[in-house]
Symmetry: C2
Subunit: 260 residues, 2 copies
């Protein structure tokens, strides 16, 4: 199912939505290959030393780690525009899987290294990317450490309204399409499908969420959900509130404006 097409840079980038939107960090590079992955396929395995950089063009990837007995921990979800935080020449600390059908740009390590030595703007973008990922992993640790399972499940739903297809209904409520399965939802919340199911049930009973169709929900009061998940600072203390979920938005520093 894997399809690799090597194309001259112009051809690939000229039609790419990311470039048009200014979300591509590598538009200046040549020798870019586009690779298609079906949902569930693995892009790279933990421990590998990939000699290239990966940029997600379309779809969702997950960064995860496997244990000896088959269990797994999902550490982050990547969306279109994100760069996999891997550095050519360093062993990877995680595997990367397609959480949906995806298109990934692969940039050769040689091309990257050459451009990195030459191009100041590119350097800053790379550092920014690393900083954004550091930030997101810190957020993940915070969420897992200080929030209950229920709160994390809600936090992921809130996050989905910020990085997944969403529209606003006439009555002001949000309609969001979760592009991940219940299993992924549970993985990202570091809990089980049963707990996710129970939490969604509970929210429905309280009128905070209405299930419209499989993976489609209506959310009348997003601020109420934020409060339930303790995503906003409760007191008026100067203390900064907990951070959002670990999905990396299209732009590396999107988090800065996320809660106003």
């Amino acid at each position: 199912m894997t399809d690799i097409a090597t194309l001259p840079s112009k051809r690939v980038c000229g039609t790419c939505e990311l470039r048009k939107g200014g979300d591509c960090r590598f538009a200046a590079l040549s020798g870019v290959r586009v690779r298609h992955l079906a949902k569930g396929e693995t892009l790279v395995h933990e421990g590998e030393m990939p000699e290239r950089l990966f940029l997600l063009r379309r779809g969702y990837l997950r960064m995860l780690r496997f244990g000896c007995d088959g269990d797994r921990v999902v550490m982050a979800l990547l969306a279109a525009g994100d760069v996999v935080p891997a550095f050519p020449g360093r062993a990877l600390g995680f595997s990367v899987e397609a959480a949906s059908d995806t298109e990934v740009c692969e940039i050769s390590g040689a091309a990257f290294r050459a451009a990195f030595g030459r191009d100041t703007a590119l350097r800053h973008r790379i550092l920014d990317n690393a900083a954004a990922h550091l930030r997101r992993l810190q957020d993940a640790i915070w969420l897992r450490g200080r929030l209950t399972s229920r709160e994390r499940v809600i936090a992921f739903l809130v996050q989905a309204t910020e990085c997944m297809p969403v529209d606003r209904l006439p009555d002001g409520s949000l309609r969001v399409t979760m592009r991940v399965s219940r299993g992924d939802w549970a993985d990202m919340s570091d809990t089980t499908v049963e707990t996710v199911s129970r939490v969604v049930r509970g929210l429905a009973d309280e009128g905070l969420v209405e299930t419209l169709a499989r993976h489609r929900y209506r959310i009348p009061d997003i601020a109420g959900l934020r409060r339930l998940a303790r995503l906003d600072p409760a007191g008026a203390e100067g203390a900064p509130g907990p951070a959002p979920w670990q999905v990396i938005g299209p732009r590396g520093d999107r988090s800065v404006v996320r809660h106003q």
Copy 2:
């Protein structure tokens, strides 16, 4: 209690153990200030945009985040030689506190930026540092997600034998000095002092740990502890085992050789 001394680079670095050991990433830079912090003092607060880089010369720092109701999560412990993963011009996602008396080198953002544009080796060291921190945060997520409290407490003890003062006794057992309080131990293990106490008690009952003095322990069978904490791959599957704790060792890539 804060004492800041600005010294010409030569003077500072000439006497620095880090430089002699080759652990200093900034020996080439000038305009370095040395700052002393007493245990408990804060180096930088979450949300600040420090216009400098911090390198830990001596002691231990902790990276942590505070919640609205006074609770806190410790994300990593830094040891001598580590660089605080902050980039000049970006808001910090965590506070940094002295976990013991420390000496920190401060490098001005301007000096750093100039050198960063000029010095290829420095660039690689900075990227390496970011990569090491990414790796450690991923490890932290893994530990918190897949290990029990008991296992995390043991994992931290094991880790201490790898980055804190330790010597080997005639009978082959290790004697380690924990340079952090019970509270820090609990913070780093994402649990409570009560649980740490109970775990240590349990280990003593099983003869796996003997308390010699406050903060000093004898460990007859370190491999046994590793097994208890599930730090080594159980099966002979190709699956890589869980990673060590999130203390960053003196060298950024020390983890590579950590378990052979």
